[in-house]
């Protein structure tokens, strides 16, 4: 029997923030990396910011560092209880990787950043791309709606933001404006089309020229987050126009795509490969992940494995599945899943969004400090498999605004650990 030869040192399953961070971390240790996923997802839906911990016990977190320690101490089952010490290192790694791909992320654990939304609210985040950050306090803002683009209403924004800001002790005045430019009068106009238009210097110039008279007396121009798929576009517009800020819109999220592309580019530059459109299952035996079964055209492909990172996401991404029987399962490797607390009837609250918890969110895979999956008795079940991101049990990501920090820190640790797995005969 010939011995199988794993073609990659580390295979990462999942192309969201956790998967990309894991792949980058493994590649940074010289590992040959393949990152694959069934499609693009969360990065294209989220706003390109890195939320580490936005709310704790219902209150906004002003300084993430002490809040992280408090959370880790109070909730031993929370992923941050195992990752807490690595979060800062992971964020700094991510910041460098994103910079390598052209996206500058600002901020850190000392002070939360505030990002304005198209609805005119201000929400806390930890790292944000430069173009999403504005000098809000004392600002006189021109909020610009673009003809034909329905996802941003400058009047709504102008009515909402000043009182919201006042509650945070910030003084903001907003003047709404609508702009109609010939290239915008097209049949189909979404954020993506706008971003592509703005990547063209000629249109960028036309927009800046049209905005300049309107922006007289303003300190900041707020536009929907469509300032280019290219990382340099927003800065180029600001050079022509003066300070500008992007407001994240509905998916597809242009800043989210920029971050994803920056990370993917950085990964390719480190020799990593990316494969989109692959559903996988893992073949595990005797405590090891032996092979990856890829759903390829016409048949299943069996790829021998050395080590693997599973970053397939939570319930919404298909990384976890709720069976009709009422059990939450992990379909790719049948990992043990910590079930939500209480009877299934109590797993869901009537309000999908809002300030109450959904117990279902707590379900997931439990992991040790190396991000190896654990069974109910706390034993490592598979030696060369690591989990990251939405799969991890114990977090209420939407309440805490913690999804990105967990993804980044767990991805970072999982990627480094996976790269350190020794080849076996």
């Amino acid at each position: 029997m010939p011995s199988p030869r794993p073609p990659y040192d580390v295979v990462v399953v999942g192309l969201g923030l956790a998967g990309l961070t894991a792949a980058l971390a493994a590649a940074s240790r010289g590992a040959r990396v393949l990152a694959l996923g069934k499609g693009y997802g969360t990065t294209h839906f989220r706003s390109g910011t890195i939320d580490v911990l936005g709310y704790l016990e219902g209150g906004a977190v002003r300084s993430p560092r002490p809040a992280l320690s408090a959370l880790a101490a109070a909730r031993p089952e929370h992923p941050y209880a195992r990752l807490g010490g690595r979060v800062e290192e992971a964020l700094s790694f991510l910041r460098d990787a994103a910079r390598g791909g052209g996206v500058e992320l600002q901020g850190g654990l000392d002070e939360a950043q505030l990002v304005a939304t198209t609805a005119g609210t201000l929400r806390p985040t930890c790292l944000a791309p430069t173009s999403l950050l504005g000098a809000w306090d004392g600002a006189r803002v021109l909020a610009v709606g673009l003809q034909g683009f329905r996802d941003f209403d400058p009047e709504l924004f102008a009515a909402t933001l000043p009182p919201v800001a006042a509650r945070l002790g910030l003084e903001v005045a907003v003047r709404p404006a609508r702009l109609s430019l010939a290239p915008l009068l097209r049949r189909h106009l979404d954020g993506l089309g706008l971003a592509r238009l703005l990547d063209r210097p000629a249109f960028r110039h036309q927009l800046a020229e049209a905005l300049r008279p309107l922006a007289r007396g303003c300190t900041l121009v707020a536009l929907p987050a469509v300032l280019g798929l290219e990382a340099a576009t927003a800065a180029a517009l600001a050079t022509e126009l003066g300070p500008a800020v992007e407001l994240p819109t509905l998916p597809p999220s242009v800043p989210g795509i920029r971050l994803q592309r920056a990370l993917e580019r950085a990964l390719r530059e480190r020799g990593g490969r990316v494969q989109v459109g692959a559903e996988v299952r893992l073949e595990c035996a005797a405590g090891r992940a032996r092979a990856l079964e890829l759903e390829a055209a016409g048949r299943r492909l069996r790829m021998p494995l050395r080590s693997v990172v599973l970053a397939t996401g939570g319930m919404a991404s298909g990384g976890l599945r709720l069976e009709p029987s009422g059990a939450v399962v992990e379909p790719a490797a049948d990992l043990p899943v910590a079930q939500p607390p209480g009877p299934p009837g109590r797993w869901f609250r009537e309000r999908f969004l809002g300030s109450c918890d959904q117990a279902i969110d707590l379900a997931g895979v439990r992991a040790d400090a190396c991000m190896r999956p654990l069974d109910a008795e706390g034993r490592v079940v598979i030696e060369n498999l690591f989990v990251a991101g939405g799969l991890l049990a114990g977090a209420e990501r939407s309440l805490e605004r913690s999804a990105d920090g967990i993804a980044c820190a767990s991805g970072y640790v999982a990627g480094l650990e996976a790269a350190a797995v020794e080849a076996t005969a």
Binding site: P2, S3, P4, R5, P7, L34, K38, G39, Y40, G41, H44, F45, R186, R187, H188, D190, L192, G193, R196, P251, P252, I257, R265, R268, R273, Q275, V276, G277, A278, L294, E295, A296, A297, G298, R299, L301, R302, M303, P304, S317
Partner: protein, 410 residues
């Protein structure tokens, strides 16, 4: 009217669309023209109304690259839905002669090859190209191949066979290897021989892909039936079907079923037995049954994986073999699509769109300082050659260039 089942898994996948627009973010056509509003609008969104009314003509601007299907996080078969919608238009409204011609690459090959010098002269002369542009709608500057005087099948007889083969495969060469680029088949057979693999050449005809992408489903189905008749005996004798054109092999693996809707045990049997050449060799390397062939290639190479290969879901096996060569300066293009879309970029009204899409490949080649571009599908190679002015070769040609000169393996 297209003979496609109304409610198969591909059609039903439209219901999984959550309108997240991820497909639109990867579509290479959308940024290149306003005539195509994007795979989401044409595919899952328009699909809801398709039973009732006429198709929107814009779907014809899809170039079939399949990026949308691969990127969809919800498993919607966007590209397949669009291909079927195009066929619906064709079935109702007919098809220009131009598309009927372009759909029949094998017929063109059979007519052109015996007259190769004359036919090639016609293909090169600006006067005849201008005429074809005006009369047929084949763009005068579009990249077209030159006919080969001697077909691959004729050359095959003279190629070496391994003395003690470890295994045997059946080779599916496709139309372009047979009529335009026999050197691709020749390199493949020689490389396989060097790897201890004997090659059989079953009787074969066009797989039907150009008909599928031009929306002629009835004719495509006849081609598919013929291909099944011709290849299944080899499959049932235990031979893998190995192909060098990743477009033809994807048709055998997936499109008979997922686009034409031929969900039969026979198409499943053929799909499961079909391999891209490098996928086949790589699987043997992974299993420990083959040493990757070694050789030296002191050239700067840009590798562009064709869209159809990406849809195979097997990664980029050719790049794995190229990367193992000594002295090679290899870069992968990282570009979604070269634009050609089979015969799409040859059409007068779509030529400019295809050129705009492909520009990124040319930029990437320049950045890398490439001397040659490697790509596994024929029409992509012709397009890339046209875009870059560089020679575009099938990876097996480069690999054989490196390995062949290295002498016999132990």
């Amino acid at each position: 009217m297209t003979g496609v089942p109304l409610l198969d898994e591909v059609a039903l996948s439209a219901d999984r669309c959550i309108k997240c627009n991820v497909c639109n973010t990867v579509c290479p056509v959308m940024p290149a023209t306003d005539l195509f509003p994007g795979p989401k609008y044409c595919g899952p969104q328009a699909q809801r109304y398709r039973l009732a009314g006429p198709e929107e003509a814009w779907v014809d601007y899809c170039n079939g690259c399949g990026a949308c299907t691969r990127a969809c996080p919800s498993g919607v078969r966007v590209a397949e839905l669009n291909a079927r919608a195009r066929a619906e238009i064709v079935a109702r409204g007919g098809l220009p002669l131009r598309n009927r011609l372009l759909g029949r690459s094998e017929l063109l090959g059979r007519l052109g090859s015996p007259l190769a010098p004359l036919a090639n002269l016609g293909l090169r002369r600006p006067e005849s190209r201008a005429l074809a542009d005006r009369l047929l709608g084949i763009h005068r500057a579009a990249p077209l191949p030159a006919f080969s005087r001697v077909s691959f099948r004729e050359r095959f007889r003279r190629l070496p066979r391994p003395a003690a083969p470890r295994t045997t495969v059946a080779y599916f060469h496709g139309c372009s290897t047979n009529f335009y680029e026999p050197r691709v088949g020749e390199a493949a057979v020689r490389l396989l021989e060097r790897c201890g693999v004997a090659v059989e050449l079953p009787r074969q005809h066009c797989c039907g892909l150009p008909l599928i992408s031009n929306g002629e489903f009835a004719a495509a189905r006849r081609y598919a039936e013929r291909t099944l008749r011709e290849l299944l005996p080899a499959v049932r004798a235990g031979l893998p079907i190995v192909a060098t054109s990743t477009s033809c092999s994807y048709t055998l693996k997936a499109e008979y079923r997922e686009v034409l809707g031929m969900w039969t045990p026979e198409t499943a049997e053929l799909a499961a037995a079909t391999y891209d050449l490098f996928e086949f060799l790589r699987e043997r390397v992974w299993a420990g049954a083959l040493e990757a062939p070694r050789g030296e290639l002191r050239r700067r190479v840009l590798y562009h994986p064709p869209c159809q290969l990406r849809s195979h879901g097997v990664g980029v096996p050719a790049a794995d073999f190229l990367a193992a060569l000594e002295g090679i300066e290899l870069a992968e293009s990282g570009v979604e699509c070269c634009g050609i879309g089979g015969t799409y970029g040859m059409k007068s009204e779509k030529y400019a769109v295809a050129q705009r899409i492909g520009r990124a490949v040319a930029e990437r080649a320049r950045e890398h300082g490439a001397e040659v571009v490697a790509c596994d599908s024929e029409t992509c190679r012709w397009q890339i050659q046209h875009l870059t002015g560089l020679p575009a070769r099938h990876p097996v040609e480069l690999l054989w260039e490196a390995v062949g000169s290295a002498g016999a393996a132990p």
